[in-house]
């Protein structure tokens, strides 16, 4: 298993076509499932209850998964206590319980290597000067910010000396932004931030202030979801168009990822598609029957990652809606499946007695 894990980083992340990918993933996934089934008694109990036991040779379509909610309620781990390296916590919206993920050195190391390999294609494999579209407070202890904080910390290792573009009130710090772009005029820079903050704190606020900054040298990576922007009726296309017009940024990449599978992110290509790599994969399940959906059909996103050894998070059913668009044939040339995220299922439509708002 370890040999295979080492050699996987020698493979270009978007180079595996379907036949090879399926064979590789199938063996990785059944090994991981067996590994966790033998070492994590909670995982074993869950899989027995949800899937009536476990046939480890099953094909990927029938691979067992955990609903993402279990990480909010259970601390799942497949390693002895003395191998625990650190805990990662996430909290999405306030009031929700955070997920808690147990990492050992090996898993943390795989996550870092995987993220590096994945981002090399976007950032060119060198550490660029980095502008973080967030406040330094996001790295503080405040739990509400921890998801953002974790992402910033994780991506910061791909930049040099990160500069924070926003002040405590999430308003743009004009002096810093200007001097950042002045200082690095003719070379590529890495701009990172949450989709919503880039829209409100950069696009909207700088337009109100009527401030022009040329950011054409920026490679922009953003994530965190579209929910808040959907409320503002901003589409991914409109988002890109605005960044192009306002700041002259043309290298813009959305990414999809979650703390439960850190290091295994899905990055948007120039054709606007999120891509699976050799490290991960996506299946779509019907929201009612949980059966697999075909390309072009909407359903819940199931994410696979080959990195989780310390905790049983290699196959997770998310609460996000998505759609597979194709495989091996994206105009950008990357191999593997590509897909679109259609947002999170809303709790709002449910009827009942609670809440008088």
């Amino acid at each position: 298993m370890t040999d295979k894990m080492d050699s996987i980083f020698d493979i270009a992340p978007y180079s595996m076509a379907r036949a090879e990918k399926v064979a590789f993933l199938q063996s990785s996934m059944s090994e991981l499932t067996q590994f966790h089934y033998d070492r994590c008694s909670e995982y074993k109990a869950m899989i027995d209850a949800l899937f009536g036991g476990c046939d480890f040779s099953t094909n990927l379509d029938e691979l067992p998964y955990l609903p993402v909610g279990v990480f909010k309620h259970h601390r799942l781990k497949s390693i002895p206590d003395d191998e625990v390296f650190k805990y990662m916590r996430s909290s999405g919206t306030s009031g929700q319980r955070p997920s808690e993920i147990v990492l050992d050195k090996k898993t943390a190391n795989l996550q870092t290597k995987g993220l590096t390999k994945t981002l090399n294609g976007v950032l060119g494999g060198q550490r660029l000067p980095m502008l973080v579209v967030d406040s330094e407070d996001a790295l503080g202890a405040n739990a509400n910010f921890s998801a953002r904080g974790a992402a910033i910390r994780g991506f910061s290792m791909f930049g040099r000396r990160p500069v924070f573009a926003l002040d405590h009130d999430l308003k743009p710090d004009l002096l810093r932004i200007k001097s950042f772009f002045d200082q690095h005029k003719d070379k590529a820079v890495f701009v990172f931030g949450f989709t919503f903050l880039i829209w409100t704190s950069l696009c909207e606020t700088l337009a109100e202030l009527d401030i022009q900054i040329d950011m054409s040298n920026a490679i922009l990576l953003h994530g965190g979801g579209w929910k808040k922007l959907v409320n503002k009726a901003v589409s991914p296309a409109a988002f890109k168009e605005r960044l192009k017009q306002q700041f002259n940024i043309s290298r813009i990449h959305d990414y999809y990822g979650m703390v439960e599978q850190t290091g295994s992110i899905y990055v948007e290509c120039d054709a606007g598609h999120l891509h699976c790599s050799v490290f991960n994969d996506v299946l779509i399940k019907d929201v009612i029957s949980l059966e697999n959906k075909n390309f072009g059909e909407e359903g819940l996103i199931q994410t696979l990652s080959i990195f989780p050894y310390s905790y049983p998070g290699h196959s997770i059913l998310t609460e996000d809606l998505g759609m597979l668009l194709g495989e091996d044939d994206c105009p950008c040339g990357r191999k593997g499946k590509y897909f679109r995220v259609l947002g999170r299922l809303a709790e709002a439509e449910i009827r009942g007695c609670s809440d008088t708002l």
Binding site: M46, G69, T318, I350, R351, C353, S354, D355, T356
Partner: protein, 403 residues
């Protein structure tokens, strides 16, 4: 600050809030109130309302004949009973007509009513408000118009305090968090709250009697109405089924019961809310980790999930969820039921038991079921002025001794 000075939009009733404040209490089941509700009932029951089953139920409740049955419970005592004054109602967003029942109980108890409606407008709410306005604009009910004030507003501490300052009784629907939030606003010393916090409900079925029943489809329809009209998310929706009988009969009855329910869901074109799919799986995983041996079956057509588990699962309401998720547990006989002494247990819907058996469950020492309503399957959401253990007419009125 006064309520009048704060931002709100009037929906129905008194033209001016000051007019409402001038209103005093009336006696319970005041003839003009009964007259008005009976007229309200007539226009609610007209053909156009048939598209909305909950409007028809409301109309049915307000019939003169029904109101006189309700009133009979209160005629035994010869003391004079009148309202307490101004009632202030916070009503929930997701059970559209709840505001009406709350208001009607308060009116019948002799109070004037200030009712905050949810900001989520619904077709049914608009329909009923329009009819209420029509009734109140009739000259014969002019004297009642100023006793009602329906409004919408943002949730706001200042507004809550302004309403706390005028309330003689405050009725808070909407669950634990809402009760906590609204209670931050103080009341006058003599005033008090009637609260409806988070609750859950269960269902009790005698397997043998079920197997012998001819109208299994009727039971499925009744159970469906109890449950899925509010996505199994109302306090009165059953979250667990307790089956009484030997293992063989229970298994047989379960199979028929869930089959019938699935068919009913399909007849209604009902699919479980997709937003609950992940949570259901998470709940099953939680049961498994707790050693409660969940054995799961789910309908691929409707998304309904049935989980056979152990009695201990019933001890923790966290094991429940809505949107088509039922725990079920088998017991050989009623005496084998565990003691469920949980103030959150509201309704037990039942099939196949005698009145005396059910009463014995409540009256046994210790109480087997701390529920406040034991009603036949199909009546879980049927409103009564006895609700959640409150005698609403009693709680919202006062005795006056004249000697």
């Amino acid at each position: 600050m006064t309520f009048q000075a704060l931002n709100h939009s009037r929906i129905a009733g008194a033209e001016s809030f000051d007019d409402l404040l001038k209103e005093g209490p009336r006696r319970i089941f005041d003839p003009m109130v009964v007259e008005m509700l009976s007229a309200f009932s007539k226009i609610l029951m007209k053909d156009e309302a048939h598209a909305y089953p909950d409007v028809v139920s409301l109309g049915f409740f307000c019939r003169r004949a029904n109101l006189s049955i309700v009133a009979r419970r209160y005629t035994l005592n010869d003391a004079i009973r009148i309202g307490r004054g101004h009632s202030v109602h916070y009503t929930p967003s997701n059970v559209p007509l709840n505001f009406c029942y709350s208001m009607i109980a308060a009116l019948l108890a002799g109070n004037s009513c200030v009712v905050r409606l949810s900001n989520k407008a619904s077709v049914v709410t608009e329909f009923v408000v329009e009819k209420l306005n029509a009734i109140l604009s009739r000259s014969e009910f002019e004297a009642l118009r100023n006793r009602i004030f329906l409004f919408r507003s943002q949730a706001d501490d200042k507004l809550n305090q302004a309403l706390g300052d005028i309330a003689d009784i405050r009725i808070i629907w909407g669950g634990d968090q809402t009760v906590r939030d609204i209670r931050k606003a103080s009341l006058k010393p003599h005033a008090y709250d009637i609260t409806f916090p988070d609750r859950y409900s269960i269902c009790l079925i005698a397997a043998k009697e079920y197997l012998e029943e001819n109208d299994k489809r009727g039971i499925a329809t009744a159970f469906y109405n109890d449950t899925f009209v509010f996505d199994q998310n109302a306090c009165s929706s059953p979250k667990a089924i307790l089956w009484i009988g030997d293992q063989v009969s229970v298994s047989r009855a379960q199979e028929l019961f869930w089959n019938q329910l699935d068919q009913q869901m399909r007849r209604k074109g009902y699919k479980c809310p997709a937003s609950k799919t992940n949570e259901k799986l998470t709940k099953i995983a939680g049961l498994a980790v707790s050693g409660l041996e969940p054995r799961v079956s789910r309908s691929n057509m409707t998304g309904n999930v049935i989980v056979n588990t152990m009695p201990e699962a019933l001890e923790n309401a966290d094991n429940f969820t809505g949107g088509g998720y039922f725990l079920q547990v088998q017991f050989e006989h009623l005496a084998a039921l565990p003691v469920i002494n949980d103030h959150r247990l509201q309704t037990v819907t039942h099939f196949g038991f005698a009145q005396t058996e059910l009463e014995a469950l409540v009256l046994s020492v210790p109480t087997k079921l701390s529920a406040e309503r034991l009603v036949k399957i199909g009546n879980a959401t049927a409103f009564d002025v006895i609700w959640d253990g409150y005698d609403l007419i009693g709680q919202m009125s006062k005795f006056v001794l004249v000697q």
